[in-house]
């Protein structure tokens, strides 16, 4: 249970605060409602490149990191398909430093051609390090592009190619900044041992004077229903073949989210889960297996993936996955098994509340989803899932014509 207070400033900025009485640290999280799904298909990877530029200094503060570090703080950021998130922790007495810096860079960013060029090179190196210079590095990219034809989820946050990053211009940077980095397109959350009203007032002090120019974002093209099974085979220099199967499912606020998440836990949450017990231990078909949901805001994917042992054929592996998804349609999970995955969810939620940063981050995220209350209601939602819901989910989702199979074959 995370208690919080919320205020929407006149310029549209949403502020959420949580009092944590046990920590000597404070956490500040600022979420902008822009991610890779808002990108031009010919300029993918831009939201993430822009996140990097946010650390390149403003008219008043030449370096963002320097004053953070002077205040014994630490900051970082990430971008995903749906949003861009900036976060800091620092000693609670220095909390205001973070608010000053975040409010300053919401409107004062100063990007020169030189800064842009250097940052593009850094991001290209990140692209190489994470996706090109790693065995299996391009696997999730390929799977996305196979499962989505229309929706921008078809590309990864890093972008479709390094060319898109190298081609970014200063005009595009400025336009993107004006469009998306505004008070009414952001959510700010604080967690610290401070009075809640005082924290809201502090946010008001630093962010209240910022101007907001409303805009209507371009609609995001939605993915039409998939009609037939898709398969892609690629060959790579890797020691073992992996197979991934992606199924389309509902969006983040639909009932599918919790059900899909719970089903993925039945299949692969911990060593006692079905895929691990059946396919890794009993049948020894795979070296490792996983089932997970992409968890995106728009309709997402349910993904099964496994790395084959040398003695397993691709047909055997696909057949094994098929057996597991079929069984979900017809055999009810036991009360014991359901209780297990629900307990696990509850434990994870509790372990996650141990530090201030997680709390501030989650407060922003749930408000961004449009349902802040959900942060404290989700456990009950998991608790309410019964065998009927699982049957319904499995029968609707695990169909061949709803599937995309990627065979990543060892050469």
């Amino acid at each position: 249970m995370i208690p919080y207070k919320k205020r929407i400033l006149e310029n549209g900025l949403t502020v959420v605060v949580n009092r944590d009485r046990s920590s000597k640290l404070s956490a500040v999280n600022l979420l902008y409602k822009v991610g890779a799904r808002n990108e031009d298909p010919d300029r993918t990877g831009f939201a993430h490149l822009f996140e990097h530029l946010m650390f390149r200094g403003t008219c008043d503060v030449p370096s963002f990191d320097l004053p953070v570090q002077m205040a014994s703080g630490e900051d970082n950021a990430f971008t995903n398909n749906d949003y861009t998130n900036f976060y800091l922790t620092l000693p609670v007495d220095n909390l205001e430093t973070a608010l000053w810096l975040e409010s300053d860079r919401m409107q004062g960013l100063w990007i020169t051609p030189e800064k842009l060029e250097t940052e593009k090179r850094v991001v290209v190196e990140e692209f190489r390090q994470r996706y090109l210079n790693q065995p299996y590095g391009d696997q999730t990219m390929l799977l996305r592009a196979l499962a989505y034809r229309i929706h921008p989820y078809r590309w990864a946050t890093i972008g479709r190619s390094t060319d898109h990053i190298e081609g970014a211009t200063l005009d595009e940077v400025e336009h993107f900044y004006r469009t998306f980095y505004r008070p009414s397109n952001a959510v700010l959350a604080l967690s610290a041992d401070r009075d809640e009203e005082a924290m809201l007032d502090l946010a008001e002090k630093w962010f209240g004077e910022l101007q907001d120019t409303p805009f209507t974002p371009a609609p995001i093209p939605q993915e039409p229903q998939q009609e037939e099974a898709r398969t892609l085979v690629v060959e790579r220099d890797v020691p073992a073949t992996t197979i991934s199967i992606a199924y389309h499912m509902g969006d983040r606020l639909s009932k599918d989210f919790c059900t899909g998440d719970l089903v993925s836990d039945l299949l692969s949450g911990g060593d006692s889960s079905r895929l691990y017990q059946h396919l890794v231990k009993d049948e020894r078909l795979f070296a490792s297996v996983n089932a997970y949901i992409s968890g995106d805001v728009d309709p997402g994917l349910f993904i099964l993936t496994g790395q084959l042992l040398p003695t397993t054929t691709e047909e055997q592996a696909i057949e094994a996955f098929h057996r597991e998804t079929e069984s979900l349609k017809h055999e009810a999970a036991s009360a014991y098994e359901l209780e297990k995955v629900k307990n696990k969810f509850e434990a994870n939620a509790l372990f996650g509340e141990l530090n201030v940063m997680n709390k501030a981050m989650n407060l922003c995220y749930y408000d961004f989803l449009g349902d802040l209350e959900l942060i404290n209601r989700e456990i009950a939602q998991y608790r309410s899932i019964d065998t009927e819901r699982i049957f319904e989910f499995a029968r609707r989702i695990f169909r061949a014509e709803n599937s995309s199979t990627l065979i990543y074959r060892a050469r």
């Binding site: 570090q69 014994s72 007495d93 000053w100 940052e119 890797v238 020691p239 949450g269 042992l309 141990l354």
Partner: protein, 418 residues
Amino acid sequence: MKELPIKNVQPAIEIADAELVSLKNGMQLYLLPANKFAVMRLTLLFRAGSSRQSVPFSASATANLLAEGSEAMTAREISEQLDFHGSYFDVNTDRDYVYISFAMLSKFVPETLRVAEQLLLHPTFPEEEVETYRLKRKQRLQIERQKVDVRAREAFARAMFGADHPYGHSFEEAAYDQLTREELVAFYRRHYTASNGFAVCSGRIGDEERKALCALLEQLPAAEAAPRPEFPPICQEREVRLAHEGAVQSSIRIGRLLFPREHPDFVGMQVVAATLGGYFGSRLMQNLREQHGYTYGVISAMVNFEREGYLAIATQVGTEVTEEALKEIYYEIERLRHETMSDEELQLVKNIMTGEMMRILDGPFGIADVTIENILCGRTNRIITENVERIRSITPEEVQRLAEKYLRREDLVTVVVG
């Protein structure tokens, strides 16, 4: 523009000492109660790392197979019990030690400790599980070694200590074939004893928990401590270059063999390492990433083993700029040796280091981790306050003197894979 609100607060950093409970079998249990949390974590540590093994991979295999079957429970039952109660079991093996942790909700302490008892005291290492393990690990290591970074890490250890030194060893994947159940049982008997380790527990600890912990740990056999193995002399190679087919980035490691944590200059060298590459705005990060765009990231740090310690710099750069990047790294090291840093930069480094300490100590599990490190150096948690004072009192001249003394070009070990 409003006035800059930086107050630059320098909070005191103090952590209470752990309460030591000495059990009758010689086991030492350290307690760090934090009763406002509804969770608890128990960590056991044994001197059972890879430097203690005589058969390749036997140390990590012993630790990783603890949960794969016991006298009273199958592997399946163990994982069912842990998962059902939302408990986490985690093992980690390094060169010197094995760390075994159980994290649990307070309401499921007895259930979790019952499982812990099985896998700590009565593991059976079933033949079948050993076989699956060999197969899976072999494949995993093959994949790992396709990464330039992993190959560089292994080559760096060999270059720093020698291929036959327990701190430098790396083994062929095929060595997994030689791993037998008998070896694991023997390794377990020799090293998982009361006199060869200790335990640290943090979180909500009341009378019930205390009793349960003692009852569990008192059962560890009180066998004589395994003798400390003799290490061969260190044998270094100054420069190693390995080709890696198809690489678009090179992995670079540069380091200098120094001393373990107990040495009076260790903390000072942590300041040197932090200045070079210990934070986002560090000198190497400024140079390689912000100025040149050669890399996504670069770090440097002091690394501590039981008997040795070293400073290491690590980065991955575009293959086409490898030589330029090496030149810049050496340049930054030399600059630190020949120019006195400004008070302002040093103040920044100090604040970062103390802030980092506060972040690690935020929450009961972080406090336990730091306590473990302190125990390993034979110190109480008062050393935290002393170290912070030491960091806050260091001068620019001292940093330069340390860099000058310990980072001479001819003493550095350089490894490039790419």
